[in-house]
């Protein structure tokens, strides 16, 4: 059986039930994957999009985004690419109002013992605090 790479709209459907028919399909996908020992794989781009849409389109708080996504990542059926950096990025998101994509870029560079070169001052904020 092949693993599945889930798109942001599947994750959003599963978490919010915002389209009931798609929620049921997303739920079935997770149940099937769990039953067949398959992995549902989440890549950083999908997680960044999910977090952005939840926050900007549906008004979900940064704390709730952190809590729900971190819980999803701690299930056996889900595999997250670059998980350690994504989890740390979500922890920082809880504490500071900076785009998750900026935090992810900052942490990826830091993890690589490098620095971000950007014209956006949010990176200075990140550098001062984290």
């Amino acid at each position: 059986m092949k693993n599945l790479y889930a798109d942001a709209n599947v994750l959003i459907s599963f978490l919010t039930k915002r389209i009931p028919s798609q929620y049921l399909e997303a739920e079935k996908m997770f149940v099937d994957a769990r039953g067949k020992n398959m992995k549902v794989i989440l890549i950083p781009e999908v997680i960044l999009e999910t977090a952005y849409v939840l926050q900007s389109r549906y008004g979900v708080s940064r704390q709730d985004i952190h809590d729900s996504l971190t819980e999803i990542f701690n299930t056996q059926v889900v595999e997250v690419k670059h998980k350690d950096i994504i989890i740390r990025a979500l922890e920082i998101l809880k504490e500071i109002n900076v785009d998750l994509s900026d935090i992810y870029l900052y942490l990826t560079a830091k993890n690589d013992n490098a620095e971000v070169f950007s014209f956006d001052e949010d990176f200075e904020k990140l550098k001062r605090r984290f």
Partner: protein, 84 residues
């Protein structure tokens, strides 16, 4: 992995089970795995549906989400231009 009983009680690990182990700040973090179905619809009561949502088709809803993400990327880029 065995966890001392006092710690198990403190953290509410009532039964044997699986856990996710990861490194964080030079520490080993052990978190019990959650069943995926316990998270179904966990944000359902926390979302505010945008105006006109009821009249939109499923594809229109997804298109609107993609558009809001695109707008977010544009906003992020424009912000970096404004500041210097």
């Amino acid at each position: 992995m065995s966890i001392p009983a006092a710690l198990r009680d403190l953290l509410g690990f009532s039964q044997p089970g699986t856990a996710i182990v990861r490194a964080e700040n030079n520490r080993l973090v052990v978190e019990p795995t959650r069943d995926i179905m316990s998270l179904a619809g966990i944000l359902h009561d926390k979302i505010k549906l945008p105006k006109g949502y009821e009249k939109m088709s499923a594809q229109e809803i997804i298109d609107a989400e993609k558009e809001s993400y695109k707008q977010g990327i544009i906003k992020r880029y424009e912000k970096s231009l404004r500041r210097r």
